[in-house]
Symmetry: C2
Subunit: 423 residues, 2 copies
């Protein structure tokens, strides 16, 4: 490091290198690459291990310390000057959906690593250690549930239970984790993970179209919306499409279609914040000339406010009760309710100030999707930084983000981490 660097202004963001960050995305995208430009890199597979190994090589080359925990979360640490202080954690995941892209999760990991490198490049020393973390199995595709690594770390999930989870081939998480020893040896472990960090900050692509449509580059994530999932079963009676007159039918599909049409209407939100989705819709028996006997569909309802979710649920139940007065029976069951997560307002202001200082157009928004960050508000001040992704598309081989947006998000991440690790 030169004397100039030693006396540089306090902000580490100026040392974030857009091209280095972009190249690392291309290198990680090779592990599990699928045509035309996607990635299938499911948790704890050979592809996942190869991507982790690349990070470990890069970390070793920079002299960062490396450690892991019992669920396979991987921590790359830039040591602080006061080892007794709780570290600042930042990161995301490297596992993807079966037909995923280059950025979901990966950006948060590589932005965290770039921040460590930016600090190291500038020779900045802070009281607190900064840890770039790779959470195990965020997507929950190979092993359910998702958010597994962050869930175990935070205490929301049981380590023992998670180690016993098996994939479709009968391989347990514990078994799949054995190959991790080829990447990280016990001797490399530095700080012991598992204790509450000083703060947690995660960078991520938005996975939605809002930043792009508003022309914003940095999203100040206010929290993660609550989610409620419902299963609806409509039961009628099978019959022959040619012989049973309409007056004698108990057509489960007709009843379901009418109910669903009512639901779309009655759950329309003028403020366009409520998310109401029917994703699965299955008809039994499904014969071309058979009046359907039964329909099962599911409802995915999300909003940042519990009160709004409560109100929407009431409208939902009223529509279902109304439909059940007809010829078919209708049953609804709530199968999941996850309260909204609220992120730290102070961290939000730090993100906003950094974006302003760097002249990045910024806006506040809730996260529509779940993230590892949602495990941390009970433990420590938590925040997220979003950057735009093309067309809002994610969990798709068409997922795309630009090098300059990633650099912008990483610069803000560097600034805020620097502040948090200095306090």
């Amino acid at each position: 490091l030169t004397a100039v660097d030693r006396h540089a202004p306090a902000y580490a963001s100026r040392s974030v290198q857009e091209q280095r960050l972009w190249q690392r995305h291309l290198e990680i995208a090779r592990f599990g690459a699928i045509a035309p430009a996607g990635v299938n890199r499911q948790a704890l597979t050979a592809e996942d291990m190869a991507a982790r190994a690349a990070l470990v090589r890069w970390a070793r080359a920079r002299g960062f310390s490396i450690c892991t925990d019992h669920i396979g979360n991987l921590f790359i640490t830039l040591e602080g000057t006061e080892p007794a202080l709780a570290p600042v954690l930042t990161g995301s995941h490297l596992d993807t959906q079966p037909r995923g892209g280059h950025f979901d999760g990966v950006f948060g990991v590589l932005a965290a690593f770039e921040v460590l490198e930016a600090f190291a490049d500038l020779g900045i020393k802070m009281p607190r250690s900064v840890q770039a973390v790779i959470w195990t199995n965020e997507e929950g595709v190979r092993f359910a549930p998702g958010l597994m690594g962050s869930g175990v770390y935070s205490g929301a999930l049981s380590l023992d239970q998670m180690l016993r989870v098996r994939d479709a081939d009968g391989v347990s998480v514990a078994e799949a984790l054995q190959s991790l020893s080829a990447i990280v040896t016990q001797s490399e472990s530095g700080t012991q993970p598992g204790s509450p960090p000083h703060a947690y900050l995660e960078a991520h692509i938005e996975q939605g179209p809002i930043l792009e449509s508003q022309g914003a580059v940095v999203g100040i994530v206010t929290g993660i919306q609550g989610i409620r999932l419902y299963e609806v079963c409509v039961s009628g009676e099978e019959g022959h499409a040619g012989t049973v007159p309409a007056s004698a039918r108990r057509d489960a599909l007709r009843a379901s279609i009418h109910l669903a049409d009512q639901l779309y209407l009655s759950l329309d939100d003028p403020s366009d914040t409520l998310r109401f989705t029917i994703g699965r819709f299955s008809v039994e028996p499904g014969g071309r000339s058979t009046i359907p006997a039964a329909v099962q569909f599911n409802i995915d309802l999300r909003h940042p406010l519990t009160t709004v979710l409560d109100d929407a649920e009431q409208r939902l139940m009223a529509a279902v009760a109304n439909a059940a007065n007809g010829r078919c029976s209708v049953a609804i069951q709530r199968v999941l309710a996850r309260d909204p997560t609220l992120f730290d307002a102070n961290i939000g202001r730090m993100i906003e100030k950094s974006a302003h200082r760097n002249k990045f157009a910024a806006m506040s928004l809730p996260s529509g999707a779940g993230h590892d960050a949602m495990m941390f508000p009970p433990l420590c001040p938590t925040g997220m930084i979003f950057i735009p992704c093309k067309g809002g598309v994610s969990h798709s081989v068409r997922e795309a983000a630009t090098a300059d947006h990633m650099a912008a998000g990483t610069k803000v991440l560097a600034d805020v981490i620097q502040q948090l690790a200095s306090a």
Copy 2:
């Protein structure tokens, strides 16, 4: 036969035996029996051959002649006094749906055989031969298309093409037909089938609820309604249920639900004669938290009048055109159009008179389902006699008909066949 029988009134119906007919249904139901009280007897399987063999044994015991044709239709003949005259044909099929019942098809075959026995019991001799026929593969489950035997007989289907049709295991119709030689030897063949009969009459369970709901025992079938099948494809864009606001969605399911709800309404028929059914409805990708990208559904539309079908099709196309103005693209394709079949009015009047004479409550109705009889109007005067089935249920192990209703339908069949064979 006693002297009393020899001088009996002309109507053969009095010699129809309810218990004999019922017992034969129980015997045939053993071949391919499935729990709890159903039948799986697909065309040209061992079960189908065993059921045919039982009929052949009964026919031999009565001294009726037996013959077959190249598609395996089986003819049991009561010879007339004037062999040069075209015979009267009556029958149906013994093959069933995978989860079928005891009566669909079987009743028409056993009623035809009962009529032959009633004539023989009475020693009635008529100028024309009467043939009880078992048509091959009416259901079209194992080999497609259905109505195969009657279709080949009537010339609507090509024998060569049908012999080459293969089932899911690669077995051709020609190969499956080889086992028929164990049942019928060439030497047994009497009259040569294939030429236009003098008349065709088929007894069948209604497969719908109309006779039962009207308290009628005999249905005078006016014809078989026309059918038009359509495939509708709605294309939108996949998206994340949590991140994409309603305003940015191109939700193929939402568009399809709204379109289908409009279709049910706009195709409602105050006279309750039009049949409009959506039986298949499939959603892609079908993930619980994914905005659907595409929906495919099919429409089954039936009515006895072509003009009504034309009008309904116009309303259908208008609704689709209207839906296509939205965010999703909508395509509709007509994949089948079969004109309505009109049965012979004179045979209808004969059925009505016999029912009146026998004091059976009768009513006219079109057939909602397709039957072998629909192949015959181009060849000869054709008619069908329906009897009620419980709840209108058919193609189901719950299919049920009563012994007295079957006897009633068979008595009317006997009377009308007797008249037709005497002319």
